[in-house]
């Protein structure tokens, strides 16, 4: 189904919030798509990184319901290639934080299977908890 977008003040507020938290000027993105082409996680995502930027630009807060921002591995491949000098990893982090700081965790560590808990090295658990829990 094709979506209809109606712009209201809330859109501008959402954009401003994300810009403030990430420290990036998101309107600078000209949607070239290099970030999506560079992202290793893009095959698993529901929206592409450039699409995520687009939604933030237009202030569509539904972007926070996407799987994409949780799939970001903070690998900075997009960051070193963005021709406008933007750091997408910060934008993804800002979106995650906007959820996590409302005490909405993305994963429940307690639900990890036991064999996984045995195998996983600390570095994986700590970094995972830093990114997925508040």
């Amino acid at each position: 189904m094709i979506k209809k977008l109606k712009i209201s003040n809330k859109n501008q507020e959402f954009l401003a919030k994300v810009e403030e938290l990430s420290g990036e000027i998101i309107t600078k993105c000209d949607q070239c798509g290099i970030c999506s082409g560079s992202c290793p996680m893009v095959p698993e995502m529901d929206i592409t990184p450039s699409q995520m930027m687009r939604m933030v630009q237009l202030g569509e807060s539904e972007v926070m319901e996407s799987k994409a921002m949780w799939l970001c591995a903070s690998c900075f491949a997009c960051t070193v290639r963005c021709p406008r000098g933007l750091d997408l990893s910060r934008v993804a982090e800002a979106l995650r934080q906007m959820k996590l700081r409302k005490a909405i965790d993305h994963i429940d560590i307690k639900k990890l299977p036991e064999d996984e808990m045995e195998r996983l090295p600390q570095i994986a658990l700590i970094s995972g908890m830093r990114k997925f829990t508040g």
């Binding site: 403030e20 938290l21 990430s22 420290g23 290793p40 996680m41 095959p43 698993e44 949780w70 799939l71 591995a73 903070s74 690998c75 900075f76 491949a77 960051t79 070193v80 750091d87 990893s89 910060r90 982090e93 800002a94 934080q97 993305h106 994963i107 990890l112 996984e116 195998r119 996983l120 090295p121 600390q122 570095i123 994986a124 658990l125 700590i126 970094s127 995972g128 830093r130 990114k131 997925f132």
Partner: protein
């Protein structure tokens, strides 16, 4: 020479072989890696929001330990901090850059840690590979008694060693530092265009399928290019590319496992060091058969 050394949590347990081989190799090169006293976890990831100062406290605290080491005479006028784990390297270096560029933030952190001495901003965070490069690959060559001839290796870097640009130890698109090292060890270096693609990192706790798909791509690329083994420098990459081959095999039954090494393990083998120093038992995919085939180790590891 004595250099301050930061191990990080995983290197003491699940990745002990990384540390053991590194210490042994360093010793052979005349470097004593002096472990940071009272070090704490670096936090693994660098906080990417602008307002999140608290997450930089832990990394900076480690840098203060380097200052203390110098004052206590544990090292003599060496303000470098060597790390092995790429993730620790990236986080420590980035936090360092953050406070050096924002004196207000540094002051806040120093004030917050009122029980510690102030961080003065003199520490330089470097990765072990940079230390080796400084010493010179010629010196590496001189120490090789058991050249890795015939071993086709694809070096893998992942993300934390190379990006972002101000942190990276080499060119983010075409890094060569591991290739130079492996050549010096006598190995045949295979170039893999996926050498800089992230292994999936912490996604491994959320969705192991995603990581195993990614690992499959990375490893297949290397194999297609002719690689027989992979080297890397991070316990998380090791887990995703080595241990997760179990999940890859479940999805792709005809997948032939490929051994993954910490680069220091191969250095230890190349230097002809004792098997205890490079501990192959912690590697999930057993590399023994490959190494035996290439005559790099003896059966039962008696050398």
């Amino acid at each position: 020479m004595k250099v301050p050394y930061y191990p990080g949590c995983t290197l003491k347990t699940k990745a002990k072989n990384f540390e053991t081989s590194a210490l042994a190799v360093a010793k052979k090169l005349g470097i004593e890696l002096i472990e940071l006293p009272r070090w704490n976890c670096c936090g693994t990831v660098y906080s990417l929001t602008d307002d999140d100062l608290i997450h930089h406290v832990a990394p900076i605290r480690n840098l203060i330990r380097v200052q203390e080491m110098n004052k206590n005479g544990l090292v003599e006028n060496d303000h470098r901090l060597v790390t092995l784990c790429s993730m620790c390297f990236n986080t420590l270096k980035r936090s360092n850059i953050r406070v050096l560029e924002n004196s207000d933030d540094l002051k806040k952190i120093n004030d917050f840690m009122y029980l510690e001495e102030d961080y003065e901003g003199n520490v330089e965070v470097i990765h072990f590979l940079e230390l080796i490069k400084d010493i010179g690959f010629e010196k590496i060559r001189e120490n090789v008694t058991n050249p890795l001839e015939g071993l086709k290796i694809a070096p893998y870097y992942g993300c934390m060693l190379l990006r972002p640009k101000e942190v990276g130890i080499d060119d983010p698109e075409e890094p060569v530092i591991q290739a130079e090292l492996l050549s010096a060890l006598g190995a045949e270096v295979i170039d893999n265009p996926y050498k800089k693609v992230c292994c999936g990192s912490y996604q491994t706790i959320q969705d192991k399928q995603v990581v195993s798909n990614l690992a499959y791509d990375i490893l297949m690329r290397a194999k297609d290019a002719g690689a027989e083994a992979i080297t890397l420098s991070c316990p998380l990459c090791m887990f995703n590319l080595d241990s997760r081959q179990k999940e890859i095999k479940e999805e792709h039954p005809y997948f032939n496992e490929i051994p993954v090494f910490y680069f220091t393990q191969l250095m230890a083998i190349g230097f002809g060091l004792n098997e205890d120093s490079y501990g192959l038992d912690l590697n999930y995919v057993n590399p023994e058969s490959l190494l035996l085939e290439k005559n790099l180790i003896r059966r039962n590891n008696a050398k």
